[in-house]
């Protein structure tokens, strides 16, 4: 067990609680930086591309995490903001805007437009908000078709390459460069996210999530807070969408479908609602499962001559995993990790009910 002896307010404010923690994150960062070397010597960058995709989805999941995990507003429509970011980025690029500017602008416009669309539905709660955003997600494909002159509609749109001050990045020609671009953007977004959480803005988000009544009684404006969260969330999803476009190379009206929206929500639930880590854990799970199923299938057929060809097997497995998490580990993978860590830190004093929530005290709908 570690006792952190706090000697200044900065001990609570800083990103890392203690030196050891900072050290481990630095090690992780160094590993991520060095990772492409491994694939370079292997001269097979296929897996690196998969890892890059996982990071892109982790960025989108961070966007949704802020809204759902930290502000308590569910959304089943985040693929829509990814679509906005992606198409706007391409439109700006085709207008001759330099990539860096176009990328940031695409995110911000997606955020702004997203917030405008969301304003009328932000008064809704829980399942109603989820349904409203789901409707938005369903309509996205149709809007892309309607806006054909800009989006290419059904025939699709080619995504130009990234060019940063003459430094060209194409996912297929140079997967290593693309990996680094995505990695750096992911890190910048994590830093911004952490900053939000340690300042009044982030605290107002969690306050609104946990009790709207007392948030108001503390002087927090619900509409302003919810729309700020929506703006940041949609912006982040938009940035992820722009990167997704560069990763896919070509997008059509069917790219950003409802399934993608639902996948994002599943990611953050499985990863652990309310933790930045959860976005990454969830994205990794969703990256690994299809690969694991494919490997398992080929192993079975080559070694044991068993051929399993059940249509929808992947989706079925996702569904089972999701239900299992909601039933047995509502805190998600990150919550599970916290428990394991506490177990070892406190060994042998860990109690099974340590993380169990006390029964909520009587709450009525009425303001008392």
């Amino acid at each position: 067990m570690r006792f952190v002896f706090k000697t200044s307010y900065d001990a609570d404010i800083n990103w890392f609680k203690h030196k050891t923690q900072a050290f481990w994150y630095f090690v992780l960062f160094a590993l991520m930086l060095a990772l492409p070397l491994y694939f370079y010597f292997l001269s097979d960058a296929y897996l690196l591309g998969e890892i890059t995709s996982v990071m892109i989805f982790a960025i989108a999941a961070m966007g949704l995490m802020l809204l759902t995990g930290h502000t308590g507003l569910p959304s089943l429509g985040h693929a829509t903001f990814m679509a906005m970011g992606c198409y706007l980025n391409v439109i700006y690029l085709n207008l001759g805007v330099p990539w860096l500017l176009s990328f940031v602008l695409a995110g911000a416009t997606a955020g702004a437009v997203g917030t405008l669309i969301a304003l009328p539905v932000l008064r809704l709660h829980g399942v109603y908000l989820a349904l409203a955003t789901l409707a938005m997600s369903i309509l996205t494909g149709d809007f892309i078709v309607i806006l054909e002159p800009w989006t290419g509609g059904i025939s699709g749109l080619a995504v130009p390459d990234i060019s940063i001050f003459g430094w060209e990045v194409n996912k297929y020609a140079n997967p290593y460069r693309f990996y680094y671009v995505v990695l750096i953007i992911a890190i910048v977004i994590i830093m911004a996210y952490r900053n939000v959480l340690r300042t009044p803005l982030g605290r107002s988000f969690t306050a609104v999530r946990d009790s709207e009544i007392s948030a108001q009684a503390m002087g927090i404006n619900l509409t302003v807070t919810k729309s700020s969260s929506f703006f940041l969330s949609a912006t982040t999803a938009g940035l992820a969408g722009a990167l997704f476009g560069h990763s896919a190379g070509y997008v059509t009206n069917e790219t950003f479908d409802v399934v993608m929206s639902i996948t994002l929500l599943m990611m953050i639930v499985i990863g652990g609602l309310g933790f930045i880590h959860g976005a990454f854990f969830g994205a990794v799970v969703f990256g690994i499962i299809p690969v694991a199923i494919a490997n398992g299938r080929s192993l079975l057929s080559t070694s044991f001559d068993i051929n399993i060809n059940i249509p929808g097997l992947e989706n079925g497995m996702f569904a089972v995993i999701l239900i299992a998490f909601i039933l047995f580990e509502p805190m998600g993978l990150y919550g599970r990790w916290l428990k394991i860590r506490t177990y070892f830190e406190l060994f042998p004093f860990y109690r099974k009910d340590m993380f169990r929530r006390q029964k909520a005290y009587l709450k009525t709908e009425r303001v008392q």
Binding site: V196, T199, P200, L201, S214, A217, M218, Y361, L362, Q368
Partner: protein, 258 residues
């Protein structure tokens, strides 16, 4: 000088007149008690001051300003903080984070400076932490500082809620049954704290309480309410012996004489 005043305020819920033509005026620096049997309309008065409800008639002013024009999130910025009868804390956050939310009305940073965590944002953050640490010391909350609310015992939650209100450095503190559900010792602590809040911090307190022992020991003046109507106002002793108050409580068993 009167800090808060309600003037002939009426509020109806359908057929129920929850608050009926009530006038009251809380002077700066005093502890003002609001008593009455269950369903008398005490919490509703608080919710009117918090602007959760619009009165049908009457006016409410704080510090000379008419607050009926303000939204419920603007009232705290004038310096009004409150607690709730059924504790309303942020369950999935730590005690420290809960108290920090109380600082919201002092927020000077904006979204951009917070995202980039500019030196100014850090400075502000230190200021908030300093103020909150003072509250933690005052209420002896150190052992629970980094604990999640979700696992805390009832008595501690009550204190945390008081702390969150204090962290906002209010001029007027509204306490809705601060001692309900507390043990005798905890109630004693609460009495000391309320005294300190009044005398040392100079904060005006308006409190609803059923425990007449606590009311007599901390309140300067008391207003008794029944069925939404004012019965009488006076010192705790005067109110307790007022015939209308005795009658209102008879058979309701809502009073505890200690």
């Amino acid at each position: 000088m009167s800090l808060l005043s309600l003037d002939q305020v009426t509020l109806r819920f359908g057929g129920v007149v929850a608050v009926n033509n009530v006038s009251l005026s809380v002077n700066e620096g005093e502890v003002f008690g609001l008593v009455g049997p269950n369903g008398a309309g005490k919490s509703t008065v608080f919710n009117l001051i918090s602007r959760f409800y619009d009165p049908a008639e009457g006016s409410i002013s704080f510090d000379g300003k008419n607050i009926l024009k303000l939204g419920s999130d603007k009232v705290p910025s004038l310096g009004v903080a409150r607690t709730f009868q059924n504790i309303e804390l942020f369950e999935h956050a730590t005690v420290l984070q809960n108290l920090l939310v109380g600082r919201h009305r002092h927020r000077k940073t904006n979204m951009l400076s917070e995202i980039f965590f500019t030196p100014a944002a850090r400075k502000e953050e230190r200021r908030h932490r300093e103020a909150v640490e003072e509250v933690i010391d005052f209420l002896d909350l150190q052992p629970y500082r980094d604990k999640m609310i979700a696992g805390l015992p009832y008595g501690v939650r009550k204190v945390v809620e008081l702390g969150r209100a204090l962290a906002s450095e209010p001029k007027l503190l509204l306490l809705d049954e601060p001692a309900s559900g507390l043990s005798v010792e905890e109630t004693q602590d609460m009495a000391y704290w309320i005294e300190d809040i009044q005398k040392q911090m100079g904060i005006t307190v308006l409190m609803v309480e059923h425990d007449m022992g606590l009311v007599s020991s901390v309140c300067n003046r008391v207003l008794a309410l029944n069925d939404g109507k004012e019965l009488t106002t006076g010192t705790p002793a005067e109110v307790q012996s007022h015939p209308a108050v005795v009658e209102a409580y008879l058979g309701t068993d809502g009073i505890s004489k200690t």
